[in-house]
């Protein structure tokens, strides 16, 4: 069945500024990748700043990094990787024409992992940091070594993980929308573009965390004497 045929042959979701479904799909993919490039540059401004200050104030950053607990950062990394798997499986279900219940199952599982990430971060990291007084500008009671540099490090920690968390929240909103759209039978093997491009966004947010974990939690190592 050729997409170049009559009007009625187009599946739901076809937008009429396009000539074919394939063109629309490719345009959507390219559009999302271009958007992700803007996100690389957006986070990149902070990664650039981080790189410079880490080079200039290395000992302070190591000290600050040791205020973070690796077990929570690592756990959250595992959680996000699981969420990427479930997201990829949700898209695969749509590609292979599975029942909408299956797609929704994987999407909701993805959301659960995402919510778990945010819950762990809020309760066991940020809240504890607030109580311990190492949140710059909000609750600061640090009296250890390298205080100014540690404050700088904690600024980076909260700005970068905060921006990341904001992206996670937006991602949860997008996933909710996808669940609703799936429930309304909008997707099929011919048309699942919103799932695919949302998946790209979700995986990107996972990648940002992969780097944040490595750069914020593991500076200078965690071996005795580091």
């Amino acid at each position: 069945m050729s997409e170049l045929a009559a009007h009625g042959a187009h599946p739901p979701g076809f937008a009429h500024q396009f000539e074919t479904v394939a063109q629309q799909r490719e345009a959507g993919q390219l559009g999302m990748w271009v958007f992700l490039v803007t996100e690389i540059l957006f986070f990149g401004g902070m990664f650039t700043s981080y790189t410079i200050y880490r080079a200039l104030h290395y000992e302070s950053f190591v000290t600050g990094s040791h205020l973070l607990e690796v077990r929570f950062g690592a756990t959250n990394t595992y959680v996000l990787i699981c969420s990427s798997l479930t997201m990829a499986l949700a898209i695969r279900c749509a590609q292979t024409g599975k029942r909408k219940g299956q797609i929704i199952f994987w999407l909701i599982l993805t959301m659960i992992f995402g919510a778990l990430f945010l819950g762990l971060k809020l309760r066991f990291e940020w809240y504890r940091d607030y109580v311990d007084g190492i949140v710059p500008g909000v609750s600061w009671a640090y009296t250890g070594a390298h205080a100014p540099g540690v404050k700088m490090f904690m600024c980076f920690y909260f700005f970068m993980t905060g921006l990341h968390a904001l992206h996670m929240v937006v991602g949860l909103g997008i996933l909710t929308t996808l669940v609703i759209m799936t429930a309304r039978n909008r997707f099929s093997p011919e048309y699942y573009a919103p799932l695919e491009i949302s998946g790209l966004y979700w995986h990107f947010v996972d990648i940002v965390w992969i780097f944040l974990f490595a750069l914020l939690y593991l500076i200078g190592g965690r071996y005795p004497g580091s």
Partner: protein
């Protein structure tokens, strides 16, 4: 000719579940590895290893979860451009921030080593 393809029906490469699971396991192992290595004293190499593992994990996610292995060349150009531009921003900013205290213009390879070693 215009760039859009004329294919109908067949939409996107379907990746086997096994591939996804293998990539998942590799990512989990990579996380365990990077966490574990942090507790071993490798001096400056700790950071190198951590970044290398992070880059590897990223490539796994990009190639398989984000389907770039099966995507058109334009997609790869776009991704590379993004990282390249980030590289421009970091490199040229560092060319100022990390050279403020240089006294004389170093000669040859001596110029590179202090520059790079400050990052670790």
């Amino acid at each position: 000719m215009s760039e859009h393809s004329e294919q109908s029906g067949h939409v996107g490469h379907v990746v086997p579940v096994s591939t996804y699971v293998i990539v998942f396991i590799l990512l989990m192992m990579g996380t365990a590895l990077t966490t574990g290595v942090a507790y071993i004293d490798l001096g400056r190499w700790n950071t190198v290893v951590a970044l290398a593992i992070a880059v590897t994990k990223t490539m796994l996610v990009v190639l398989f979860f984000m389907h770039v292995k099966y995507a058109a060349g334009l997609t790869r150009v776009v991704i590379l451009a993004g990282f390249f531009w980030l590289g421009i921003m970091i490199t040229l900013s560092c060319s100022d921030e990390l050279t403020r205290t240089w006294e004389i213009i170093p000669q040859g390879w001596n110029m590179i080593i202090p520059f790079v070693s400050r990052l670790f």
